[in-house]
């Protein structure tokens, strides 16, 4: 430390004249204890202050001294004790106020310590509650989002169920229509040769021209291929739409393109998406409409 600079900083003047806050005052006292030069400077200043204070010196009224001597003679007796100012009375050994010359610490540190512990406990509780808040908050939002996704899933399922029941219902209705309407003609197409055992039933209404089909026994077509239904009219094959084969479709009624007139129906295997003209060497099944 630069002692000269410290001495000339003005802090010692403030210290000696009692103008410093407690914390800074203790700092100065630490420095004074370490540096004899600073201590000497402080002593100089204290002498100056003593001389300054003497400027205002004033004789107190007579009689105070005698009263004081009476008090200190009697101070050990209860009567004398009463004469003392309240803060000096026994048994209060510790003075209420510390003077800058000597700090009186008494029981203050232990109280301070207790308060420190209490403060620490409060802070710990507070932090704990903050953490728990975060924890429960994130948990609750987690539950909330899970609940919402469950509700959404349920709604989706409900919608699916409804649409399924609707389609199932319309399919059932179609079947019932086909069964009930006497105009419908049922044509059973059976495989022959290499395709023996394959069965497709075509259901045609010559009045409404509606065509339905059930591929009751038809293998899955090779990859890239698709079955196509043709209506036979004047020896010509007219496109009646593509349909699916395979075990999954065996019970399903597939709606086909309407046919105005048909003498019979034929099924060919075509490239996926169907073709405008039938590939005759790929004829799988055919049957005539019974007059």
């Amino acid at each position: 430390m630069d002692v000269q600079r410290y001495i000339s900083s003005g802090i010692l003047e403030s210290y000696v004249f009692g103008l410093l806050p407690d914390a800074e005052q203790n700092e100065v006292e630490t420095v004074v204890a370490q540096y004899p030069q600073v201590k000497a400077a402080v002593q100089e200043l204290q002498l100056d202050r003593e001389r300054f204070v003497q400027l205002y010196a004033m004789a107190p009224p007579a009689g105070i001294k005698d009263r004081l001597l009476d008090i200190i003679r009697e101070e050990e007796t209860p009567a004398g004790n009463v004469l003392l100012p309240e803060e000096l009375r026994a048994p209060s050994a510790a003075p209420a106020r510390a003077t800058p010359v000597k700090r009186i610490n008494g029981h203050k540190p232990s109280t301070e310590k207790i308060w420190k512990y209490i403060a620490a406990a409060i802070i710990a509780l507070f932090l704990g509650s903050v953490i728990l808040n975060f924890f429960f908050f994130s948990r609750s939002t987690d539950y909330k989002s899970r609940y919402q996704s469950l509700v959404a899933a349920k709604e989706k399922l409900d919608a699916q169920k409804e649409s399924q029941s609707l389609t199932a219902h319309t399919e059932l209705q179609k079947e019932l229509d086909m069964l009930k309407d006497p105009a419908f003609k049922w044509i059973k197409l059976e495989g022959f040769g290499a395709n023996a055992g394959q069965i497709v039933t075509v259901c045609w209404n010559p009045v409404s021209h509606a065509v339905f089909l059930m591929a009751q026994a038809l293998p899955m077509p090779p990859a890239g291929k698709q079955y196509q239904l043709w209506a036979i009219r004047n020896k010509k094959l007219v496109d009646a739409g593509v349909f699916h084969g395979g075990a999954q479709m065996a019970q399903k009624i597939q709606s086909m393109k309407p046919a105005e007139a048909a003498e019979g129906f034929a099924i060919t295997l075509e490239n996926e998406g169907g073709s405008a003209l039938p590939t005759m060497d790929q004829l799988q099944l055919s049957a005539k409409v019974q007059k």
């Binding site: 403030s14 103008l19 004033m58 000597k102």
Partner: protein, 182 residues
């Protein structure tokens, strides 16, 4: 300094520790004018100052074992007790800051009240010393030292920036030292 010393500093301290009433009597005779001056200057109330002076001497008597000679002379310690006790009383009276300032302007010393100039500064003459300080310097020292105002309070009361208060107070004290050491 010449106090017509019949006791050395160490003897005074020892005497206080030993609860020697003759030492107490000596201290009162030699230091009560200075301490009374401080108390009167702080409180500006003679009747109250008498009570406070009595408390101050009882504290000196009672707390003698708390005196620490490393921190300054016995007189410095006694001065601190006098100043702090008087300022405590002043504060407990809940004086308003304005009143404190008012008190300085009607100060008994500035108007030449009854006083005893201590012999050691006879050669200076106290009015001569104070004349060499500006009015502002006197006000600052009085507020800070005798009224126990913090520098923040002075800054607010006199409407001067805190930094300026600090500088001016320091200069006032240095000026005072220079006058006293001439």
């Amino acid at each position: 300094m010449d106090y017509h010393v019949t006791y050395t500093e160490a003897e005074l301290v020892q005497g206080l520790h030993a609860r020697d009433q003759k030492v107490f009597s000596f201290l009162y005779d030699h230091y009560s004018p200075a301490l009374y001056g401080v108390v009167v200057k702080v409180l500006n109330d003679h009747a109250q100052a008498v009570d406070v002076l009595q408390d101050v001497f009882l504290k000196i008597w009672r707390y003698a074992d708390q005196y620490n000679e490393d921190k300054g002379r016995l007189f410095t310690w006694m001065l601190n007790i006098a100043r702090n006790t008087a300022i405590d009383v002043l504060r407990s009276k809940a004086y308003k800051l304005e009143q404190k300032i008012q008190n300085i302007t009607d100060d008994v010393h500035l108007n030449g009240g009854p006083l005893t100039v201590y012999q050691s500064i006879d050669h200076l003459g106290f009015s001569k010393v104070l004349d060499k300080l500006t009015k502002e310097q006197r006000t600052l020292i009085d507020l800070a030292y005798y009224k126990g105002c913090t520098q923040e309070e002075i800054s607010r009361a006199l409407d001067i920036p805190l930094g300026t208060v600090k500088t001016r107070l320091r200069n006032a004290i240095i000026q005072l030292r220079n006058i006293l050491n001439k």
